[in-house]
Each structure stands twice: as C-alpha cells, then as structure tokens.
C-alpha cells in the first residue's frame, strides 16, 4: 500500500509541475484591465472653431489628403486658425453640408456647383487655373489594347461612372449615349460607380472597366505622376470645354471671412510655400470667376434634362 502511496504522490507532483508551467509567462509591456471601462467622452467643442474645408471626391479620400494637405496647412497658417478637412463619398453630401452650414469652403465639381447654386445659392469663391486655362474636358478612356474608337464601340461593354452627379464622369457620357438614341442602362452591358476619378482611371487601366469618362484635370495630373497610366489607357473622345470645378462657399458665410479666403487663394502663387501647395494639386494659380463661365455646362445639363 505504501508503494501505491508513493506512486500517487509522484503522479500528483508530476501534474503539479506541468500545471505550474501551464501558466503562460511572457514579457508583458504593461497590465491593462479590459473590464475596467468608462463611457467614451463626448467630443468637447474646442474653444477655437476650425474652418471646415470640404473637398469633393474627385479623387479618392486618401489621395485628397495627400494632395490637399499642403494647401490646408498654408490656409491654417494664414488664418491662424485650425482647418479641418471634410470628405464625403458623394458630391451631393458635400452640397448638403454646405447648405446646412456645416462646411465653410468647398472644392466642388462643376455640376455640383450648378446644382448647389440653383438650389440654395452656392457662391463662387475662386477657380483654379490649370496650364493657363480655366476649363476642363471630359475624356472618354479605354484600355490601351481596346479596339474601340468611339462611344458607339462601347455598346454592351462594362462602363465605369464616377459620381452620380459628376459632369465629366457621368453627365457627359450619358449625354453621348443619349445621342446614340439609348440610355446608359440599355447601352452598356454593365455600369458601376467608382465615386472618384482616380479610381475610374485605375479601373480602365486594370481593365476592370472597358471604358470610363474622367475629368481631364485629374487624368493629366495622374499622367504627370505616373506615366504608365498613359501606356495603359487611351483617350478616344474629348468633350467641348467645360467651366473648371470651382472653390465655393456657403452663401451665409461672413463676408469678411469670404474676402479673407478669396485673398488667400488669389495670392497663393506669390510665395514659395503657396507654390508648393498649388503644385501638389496640379494648379497654376487661383483666379476670380463668374457664374457665366458655367453657362455652357448649364445648357448641356438642361439638354440632358429635356431628353430624359
């Protein structure tokens, strides 16, 4: 019996030893109690109200942060006031934010300006001048290998739209399809939205889409940064010139601030920091602009409305 006692003692000892080592021992940086929780604090409104700048999703959100970062920094320095970048997936969301006063300044698309101007009096602040011009075009892009030379050749193919109310990305190609006596839904085999122009370019370059209409400014800006895009894509159609996408403000913005902002944009090209910021977004300088610059677009849109 004594023998079995010894045996079981040895066994218990064995279990104990292994059980001891079963407690993990790792070099922990610190101790955190995951169950000791507090309610998340509601964000406190800081004493300084930031200037909220919206950038419409012409290019992807990440690309926008990279491109507009310097410009917003310069603005922050000039105004001596924090500047907050606001982005939304669609142009209409930006328009809504402007209308509700939740955004002070916005870089919007031409068609969004027209819609905002007509709806709640969105005001032009300045417009960018690119390569000496204040116009841009809608470019019909196809993959380089594509045999298509015309919108008619894209019948039954996959087509990428950018934003639902984008002039260059949706309105103009729709207009072209209507001229063929069809509607995009019937004309193209399949349609999808990329919500930004850079994504549409990449969709064509990667042959996800057989065709797309993009903003010429974005396309050229892209070509300048990445030459391979030019090798992978081909422009088969160029639209008549459209008024360039402007910088707009909420009509209820204080006139003083509006003036200050206008001065900032117009003088931006005069100092090296400003030039660098302009270069980052592919703009020569900002210039004042009148609503009349967008008359041709307005006509096109009303044509489109009429045929609907």
């Amino acid at each position: 019996m004594k023998k079995w006692t010894g045996l079981s003692v040895a066994w218990v000892l064995f279990w104990f030893l292994t059980a001891c080592s079963s407690a993990l021992s790792l070099p922990a940086a610190s101790y955190v109690d995951l169950d000791q929780r507090v309610p998340l604090p509601t964000p406190v409104n800081s004493a300084v109200v930031p200037l909220r700048v919206a950038v419409a999703a012409v290019i992807s959100p990440q690309g926008t942060v990279e491109s507009y970062g310097r410009l917003l920094e310069a603005l922050q320095t000039r105004l001596n006031r924090p500047v907050e970048l606001v982005q939304r997936r669609t142009y209409l969301e930006i328009n809504d934010l402007l209308e509700q006063g939740q955004v002070d300044v916005a870089f919007v698309c031409t068609s969004a300006y027209i819609a905002g101007h007509d709806k709640f009096g969105m005001e032009l602040l300045v417009a960018p001048q690119v390569k000496g011009e204040t116009v841009y075009y809608s470019l019909l892009l196809v993959p380089d290998e594509s045999t298509a030379n015309d919108i008619a050749d894209l019948r039954g193919k996959v087509f990428a739209f950018t934003d639902p109310i984008s002039l260059s990305g949706r309105m103009y190609p729709t207009y072209l399809v209507k001229q063929q006596g069809s509607s995009p839904e019937d004309f193209f085999g399949r349609i999808f939205f990329t919500y930004s122009h850079d994504q549409a370019i990449l969709a064509v370059a990667n042959k996800v889409a057989d065709g797309a209409a993009v903003d010429s400014l974005v396309y050229e800006f892209f070509l300048a940064r990445d030459a391979t895009i030019g090798e992978k894509t081909r422009v088969i159609h160029r639209s008549p010139p459209f008024g360039i996408p402007p910088v707009v403000v909420n009509p209820a913005l204080r006139p003083q601030l509006k003036l200050e902002l206008q001065n900032f944009f117009l003088s931006l090209h005069q100092d090296p920091q400003g030039q660098a910021a302009l270069q980052a977004i592919g703009v020569d300088r900002f210039i004042p602009i009148e609503d009349s610059a967008y008359q041709s677009v307005r006509d096109l849109l009303s044509d489109l409305q009429a045929t609907r």
Binding site: A10, S22, L34
Partner: protein, 493 residues
C-alpha cells in the same frame, strides 16, 4: 575521486532509502522515474517551443490584422462613415477568432469606433503610443483576460488616425492545454505500460532469485535434495546451475563427512571401550595378582622379622616390609585411579565420593559434592563417561585453576543428567583455548566433549580470567535397551 561530504551524505541517505526497498520497487521506481522524467521533459519542451512559435505567430497575425484594418478603414475615416467603420470592426472581430478587440483613433487620439461598444477600457488608449512615421508597433499586454498582442498602425502617417488591434492568447492557451493533456495522457499510458512491464520483469527476475534463496535456506538446514529450476539461459540461469552444482558437491562432501564422522565415532568408541577394558584388566590384575603377591611378601617379611634374632636382619626386614607395604598402597592407588572398583560395584555416587575425598586429601581442596539422582544406578556407559569427565575436570582444576573451593553438582532433570563443576580459581580465556593456543589443554577439553558427544550430550565451558570456571555437562539418560547395553558393555565386563 573526492566527493563532498554533504553530497556523500545525501548519496548515503538516498541509498538507505533506495537500497532498503525490494527489487520490484527499484525496477518500478527506475521505470516510472524515467517515464515521468521523459514525459515531463518533453511536455515542458513542447510547451516552450509551441508557446514561442504561437506567440510569434500571434504577433505577426496581430500586425497583419491591424495593417489590414488600417488600410480598409482609411477611406471610411476620411469620409466619416462611422457606421461602415463600426461594421468593419465587427467583421474584423468576427472573421478572426483571436481578435480580442479592435478600435480606431482619430488624429487627436479620440476613439472613433471600437468593438467595446459604449464604454472603453481606461488605460488601453495610452498603453501603446506610436510615432506617426512608424510602420507598426506591437506590444504584449497582460490583461485580466490573459495576454494580448496589441498592434498599433498609424493610418496615413497618423494624419487620419491609428488602428489598434489586440489578439488574445485564448487559442494559444487552448492549444497548450490540449497538447499538455495529450502528452500527459500519453505519459500516463506509457507509465501504465511501464508498470505492467516492470511488474512482469520483476516477476521474471525475482522468481528464480526467491527460489534460490529458499533452496539455499533449505540447504543451510541440511536438506541437500534441493534443486532449483533453471528458468532462463541468462546470468540468473547460470547462477541456478552453479547453485545446483554446489548443492551436489555439498551433498557429496556431506556424505563423505558423515561417513568419516561415523567411522571416527566408531573408532573413538572402540578406543574408549578398549581403554576402559584395558584399565579394568590392569586394575584387576594389580588388585588380584600384584596385591596378593605383595601381601604374601609382607607376610613373609613379617615372619622373617619376628623369627630372626639378628638385629640387623630384623631391621632390614622391617624396612623391606615398610617398602612392600608402601608399594602395596601405591598399587592400590594405581588400580583405583585406573578403574575404581567402587564404580563397578557400588555405582557413580560412591565412586565420586571416593574420588572427591582422595582429591581433597591429595590437593588440599575443599570440594563440595551434591548428588541428586533418584536412580540407584545409571547405565554403565553414563556412569563411566560422567566419572571420567568429572575426573578430567578435577584434574584440570588441580593442575591449572589454583582454586580453593570446588563444587560438583549432579542431578537428574527429566530425561537428562546435568552435572555442574564450578571452581573459584583463576579461570581462563576460552577463546584462546579453542583457538588451539594451548594444544594440551584444548585436547583435554575436546576429550571431555567427545565423551559427552558419544552419548548425545553436550558440555559447555564458562570461564573468565580471574572469575573461576564453570563446566555444564548435559547427558541424556538412555533407555535401558538390550542392544544398547550390549554396545556399551565395557564397564562391567
């Protein structure tokens, strides 16, 4: 080799315990010890290796999940799509069982979305700060729910915020527990097999050894018929064969010894019988013939003395008569010493009384004789042997002991005759006598023992230098059967 005393002490204590248990326990102990040691070693090693590998994997996985989350959340944060962020975090957690938590901080370090819901652990935000330019940073936290591999990944170099993911050690612990249990179970099974095998082995090993031990004990008791079975052709089998050979040889040697012993006994008996007969004959001769002649001579000399008138011749005859009388006395003594007639005629008691008297006279000893035997006469052989033994004992006392008092006790105890001879002399060292230091003394003692042994009795000597000597004699009283009396019929002739 020099061994430290404490180590030697420890070894000695270990051996006291290990050496004290049976072979079965030793083999069981070795087998179990080795199996358990191996099991423990392997378990610990496997656990260590597994922990290291899995910890590294968890760290890697933590980085990849965090980077994936950072990449997928960038646009959602920029677009302020909080619901999509919330869904992304839930999906991240749902798709990866190891994810304990995931959350996103904005560029100011405020929580944008987290898997914790409405509340948030107090110290978690500040627990893993990261430089905006860093690729990622992984830390191991000890938490109340086990270890957590926490990775922080800055989103767009921190301009957008930070993605944080914590991977718990649940799967690691579960795997460790499973593996440990499996290994321990295996060890237990192997131990069980080991115990069975060891028990069987012990049985195989110890059965022939126990057989051998039993047989050896039987041989020690004098049973030379014992043979052990050769169970196997191994060393123990060799031992069994050698043992059987040895027992065979021992049996032969014992047979020879036995025969020699019988021969020796017979020879001794014959010698003693012949000696006693010769003594008796000489004593009788001295008594009957020589004594008669001497008496005649004395009578003649007396006649001559009284009948002769010559004074010279008268004196000479007187002297001669004196000499003849003295010679007669001496012849009497001699006959008496050779074989007292009293022993044959009146028995042991009378013979001993006479012997004692004579010894007292001759050696100036005080001898106290106590004789308590109910029988009038004992068998001749017993009487003769006891007489001779006591005679030898008293001779020794007279020669060596320098004693003043001697007591001789003879009594019957049951079927035994017990005699004790004690003196208050100088004593002697028994061991030295028995070692053959003094050949003659040894021979004397041995002669007494032989006499007693011939009758199936024993003699015990007790002595110490300066404290006297005691001799205990035990003799069985033989039943007076005819053939036996015939055998020992030397006393009465």
């Amino acid at each position: 080799m020099q061994i430290h005393p404490s180590l030697r002490n420890l070894l000695q204590r270990f051996w006291d315990i290990a050496g004290g248990v049976s072979v079965r326990s030793k083999i069981l102990g070795i087998v179990l010890g080795l199996v358990l040691l191996l099991g423990l070693g392997i378990t610990v090693q496997v656990r260590q290796a597994l922990t290291q590998t899995m910890a590294a994997q968890l760290a890697e996985q933590s980085v990849s999940v965090a980077r994936d989350l950072a990449a997928r959340s960038t646009d959602l944060i920029l677009l302020n799509d909080l619901f999509a962020l919330h869904r992304l975090l839930q999906e991240t957690k749902a798709n990866n069982q190891n994810v304990a938590y995931a959350f996103l901080l904005d560029s100011q370090g405020h929580v944008l979305a987290s898997t914790f819901g409405e509340t948030f652990p107090v110290d978690l935000i500040t627990a893993n700060p990261i430089e905006p330019t860093a690729h990622h940073r992984t830390l191991i936290f000890a938490t109340n729910q086990g270890y957590v591999w926490d990775t922080a990944v800055p989103i767009l170099e921190g301009q957008v915020g930070v993605a944080r993911v914590g991977l718990s050690d649940t799967s690691l612990r579960a795997t460790l527990t499973t593996i440990t249990n499996q290994l321990l179970l295996t060890t237990a099974l192997v131990s069980l097999i080991g115990v069975t095998a060891a028990t069987f082995l012990t049985w195989i090993l110890t059965r022939p050894i126990l057989d051998l031990a039993q047989a050896a004990q039987a041989v020690a008791r004098g049973d030379f018929t014992q043979r052990v079975k050769r169970w196997a052709n191994d060393e123990i089998g060799e031992l069994a064969t050698a043992f059987n050979q040895m027992v065979g040889e021992l049996a032969k040697a014992d047979e020879i010894r036995r025969e020699r012993e019988i021969l020796r006994r017979q020879l001794l008996e014959k010698v003693i019988v012949t000696q006693e007969e010769e003594r008796k004959r000489i004593a009788r001769e001295l008594h009957d013939s020589t004594s008669q002649t001497l008496t005649s001579l004395i009578m003649g000399l007396k006649v001559m003395e009284s009948s002769c008138s010559d004074l010279n011749i008268q004196l000479q005859a007187h002297d001669l008569r004196q000499i003849a009388a003295q010679t007669l006395e001496e012849v009497h003594d001699l006959a008496m010493q050779l074989r007292p007639r009293l022993l044959d005629d009146l028995g042991l008691r009378a013979a001993l009384e006479r012997l004692v008297k004579e010894w007292q006279m001759r050696h100036r000893l005080s001898i106290d004789l106590m004789y308590h035997v109910p029988h009038e006469r004992l068998p001749d052989v017993v009487e003769t042997a006891l007489y001779r033994i006591i005679q030898e004992a008293l001779t020794n006392v007279a020669r060596h002991a320098q004693a003043r008092n001697v007591s001789v006790l003879i009594e019957q105890r049951g079927e035994e005759l017990v005699a004790v001879v004690e003196d208050d002399g100088v004593g002697f060292d028994i061991s030295r006598i028995e070692m053959g230091d003094s050949a003659q003394a040894h021979l004397g003692l041995a002669g007494m023992q032989e006499r007693a042994a011939l009758l199936g009795g024993t003699i015990t000597f007790e002595s110490e230098i300066g404290r006297g000597t005691s001799i205990y004699i035990q003799l069985p009283i033989p039943k007076a059967e005819e053939n036996e009396v015939e055998n020992y019929d030397f006393a009465r002739g």
